[in-house]
Symmetry: C2
Subunit: 331 residues, 2 copies
């Protein structure tokens, strides 16, 4: 049903009107030390400062506020940023939320999702199918499923990041830029690309993915969807097998070429964001900054704008990133 | 000379007009997990996201842009946040800056201050007097001294934080709050207090200091300036012997009672800001948040607004803070 609503700039503008005063308008940050490493101006859209620590709150709020009045609650499956975004957006709207999480998910993530107001339903990864379970639960309890990216109102919500980037860049007098987006299923990237097509058509949107999970870069290069095997990776927030049914045509029309960084580059970008911007990033939220800093030969514009899309990082991974070096000593 | 300009709300408003588009309008952040610990709403004015990682850029910009046209450069002595703020503000204005730093300051801080555009002049703490040296240099080279806090235009620049807090709180519908400010010499606190007196008179400004460096809290309690011995402390950014000549009358008239936190509380607040707000704070920039979280019995209002005044922390201190525990596990 929702899948039939076309994703347009008007849908994004309407989402922005609903989000205003609820999602944070996150700052666009920079530091001379980062510019020096990149050899050009680097601006960072700090979505790690969004409610629940990632941009996912925007899509969740957009989708939930677009539901009809007779909805009794929402359902999502995710143990990550989308779960937290949906749980918190639902609780602010006074709607119950049910999040399906694998029983072997870290206890901390389960506790946090509960603390944000969700009812967590655990399932056994080995013996249960979360989609079947989710569909049954949704039907039995009258819940609306909020998918992580392949949903018009979710894409529209993420696209509000693009509206803000266009406006903030304009305020800074920037007329030309490449905009790098940390890309998993493509919800954030396609939303931003649509927003920039309308509001800053001279900007180019480019995807950034981790090595070995570059399904979008490969798909863009080939002109057809290429699928990665689904497996675990350091950049867990953006490890997806393929672009979505709704996101792919938008990515194909507006984005590319895709960029790819190593895990080590993502960790180094985390350390630099930490020391130079005072921001905590997670690996999947740092790949766009990593590309801006460490792949300078890939860009032709004087300004590169990157999304720092999330900051929900476990302590051990953060310490690994900080162990890549005290970047204060680099300059 | 500059010392004779009275510090008024008009001076702060004029500084705000000069700063607009140059200093960042930093966000006012919060997280449900912090509210739960504090037992009330906690909002964090994230000045660690300001240029050079602390609010000091505001006062530096305000003072430098208030100078007459015949100034050939500026001078400051500081190895910390004020040095960086002055160096960067001067470089953006195309003015040379000279920063006097002790020769035994960390090499990284010297390198960073140079990288921000300053000429660093080293002196020997044991044998040279920096004030005598600074006065001689200023005279010989026609440089204007920018003091760290006891200067009307510096106080006015820091006061712009207060104008923004008043406006951001109004946007959130907050009509009553205690505003906690990390307090060293009192430049930030007195500026904020003056701004709130005019723009949010129902708000109360309160100082927060580290244990054993509570000269302002003691002065406020006694009604007369009390002096601490000057020595090193974990919260190095706000370790000062006494409130200033210009700041004290403002603090006495508008602020208090003063609050005091332990170093351990400051470190725990750093860890919570890190995990829950995705912000890197330094100990001296975390004491106000520490008071909000760990001294709940000290407050009567439903909302406490805290300044997170800086994030320039050495890696070893940051790791000490993170070692106080993974705060994700608290909830």
């Amino acid at each position: 049903m929702a899948g039939h609503v076309p994703v347009t700039i008007d849908l994004i503008r309407a989402a922005h009107a609903r989000i205003s005063g609820h999602a944070r308008r996150t700052p666009l940050l920079g530091a001379p030390f980062l510019d020096r490493i990149a050899g050009r101006r680097v601006l960072v859209k700090a979505e790690c400062l969004q409610h629940t620590g990632s941009f996912k709150f925007r899509g969740a709020w957009s989708a939930i506020t677009a539901l009809g009045g007779d909805v009794r609650g929402v359902l999502a499956y995710s143990s990550g940023n989308h779960a937290q975004g949906v749980a918190y957006a639902a609780s602010l709207r006074g709607l119950p939320s049910v999040i399906l999480m694998p029983a072997d998910a870290p206890a901390i993530k389960i506790a946090n999702t509960r603390a944000l107001g969700a009812e967590v339903v655990l399932y056994d990864r080995a013996t249960e199918d979360r989609e079947v379970l989710g569909a049954a639960l949704a039907k039995a309890r009258g819940l609306e499923l909020i998918p992580p990216f392949d949903h018009p109102q979710v894409i529209a919500g993420q696209g509000t990041v693009g509206l803000e980037i266009a406006e903030q860049a304009r305020d800074l007098g920037i007329s030309q830029a490449e905009v790098l987006v940390c890309c998993g299923g493509g919800g954030l990237t396609s939303g931003i690309a649509l927003a920039l097509e309308a509001e800053a058509p001279q900007f180019r949107t480019r995807t950034v993915e981790p090595e070995d999970f570059d399904d979008v870069a490969q798909s863009l290069a080939k002109g057809a969807v290429v699928t990665n095997p689904l497996r675990a990776g350091l950049c867990d927030a953006i490890v997806t097998p393929a672009p979505g049914r709704l996101t792919w045509p938008i990515l194909q029309r507006l984005c590319g070429p895709g960029l790819v960084v190593s895990d080590t580059q993502a960790l180094r970008a985390m350390a630099l964001a930490h020391d130079r911007l005072k921001l905590v990033l997670e690996p999947g939220g740092a790949v766009a900054l990593a590309a801006a800093l460490f792949l300078p030969e890939q860009f032709s514009s004087n300004t590169v704008i990157v999304t720092a899309s999330g900051g929900n990082v476990d302590r051990d991974v953060l310490l690994r990133a900080l162990a890549t070096g005290d970047t204060h000593a680099d300059s």
